[in-house]
């Protein structure tokens, strides 16, 4: 089994598409749609990569909350943030919390897999 990945997104269909695509490439993929669910999973499993949308308006929290939680953990988890256009302040704050990569939405599955592969040192 390759590395474990956590995806957080408020678009259920998109999240499922990411999960299916990355699972087919051998990653063990979990999904979360609540901050507490994500935090609990992060505290119990050593995720190699977390993919989170920055704006999770339907879920009542933001991707930055997840990013901050990850950076409080003694883990080398890599973070990919999905962003839209016109969010420079959010992106700057995310960068300050050592986000590893930004991908513009809508993210192409191949781009996502390639970025995950680069961050984990594996081929996409």
């Amino acid at each position: 089994m390759r590395e474990r990945i956590l995806i957080i997104d408020d678009d259920e269909h998109l999240m499922k598409a990411y999960k299916d695509y990355l699972s087919r490439r051998g990653y063990q993929v979990d999904c979360a749609q609540e901050l507490e669910e994500a935090q609990t999973l992060l505290d119990h499993f050593p995720y190699a990569v977390v993919i989170t949308d920055l704006r999770l308006s339907k879920l009542g929290f933001g991707g930055l909350d997840v990013v901050k939680h990850i950076r409080e953990l003694p883990l080398q988890t890599r973070i990919i943030v999905l962003t839209g256009y016109g969010w420079p302040e959010l992106e700057a704050e995310a960068l300050a919390h050592r986000v590893d990569a930004f991908i513009r939405k809508p993210a192409r599955l191949t781009d996502l897999a390639e970025t995950v592969g680069l961050l984990t040192g594996a081929e996409a």
Partner: protein, 288 residues
Amino acid sequence: MRKSLLETVLDPERLSVRFQPIFHIHGAVTQIHSLEALIRGPRGTNFERADILFDYVRRKKAETAVDRSCFTAICGAAAHLPARFRINVNVHAATLGQTPGFVDFFRNQAEKHSLALDRFTVEIVEHAPTCNILGLIHSITGLRDSGVRIALDDVGLGQSNYRMMLDCHPEYFKLDAYFVQGLNADSNRRAVVESLLTLAEAMESSVVAEGVESKEDVSRLARMGVEFVQANILCAAMPLEDLRATGLLGGDTAASASVTGIAGPQNVEGFERDRQKLLVSAAKQLSH
């Protein structure tokens, strides 16, 4: 839209119940004292594991709602147990302290499943640093008035401290596995357990050692005077049908589910048997 995780957990049908025997080891005869009902989360998810499930529940501050869901699931499963077995259930102190209606809910659920209240022991689990002590005491009194016994879980760790002992005055102190594992070879751990035994005796309470992992530790605990042990090496938590298959529960008659020659302080060599032999032995005892 899929159900949220919390909505899923609040459905008792999505929870599963396992039972783990608590053995009485004081004296020459070892027998099942009670069965602790343990909850597992939605099957096939990361939250099937109890530690992860309840970590999430506490983050959501949903202890009360989930405790209700868990107790409903437990009553459903416990209704199929032979009536001679006591049942231990875990309830958060926050639920007892902040929810005056919980005791009535507890009574109603038990009654609905024809479970006598005096078969229950409520194990108080405390993870939050603050709790409504007056509400907690009121709920404990209500439970006791119905015949329910009280245990303080995870004694020695976190919030299960001296104040909780005084406020709850539990019939049982459940020693956390941290103090028990490796105790045979660790005089410091033995000193802690000795002190808790003295305290329990002074408070007319009994001590249950949880998470015992070796026969040497079980034997040492028995010699120290610990009356009850809960140990995977004796019997792991398992679904009721699997527990029945071990033979440890015996039939549905009033016969005692006792196992002689296992762990008494004068008969510690009984633990040289491996677990399978133990279970076979128990089944034979019960079949006669």
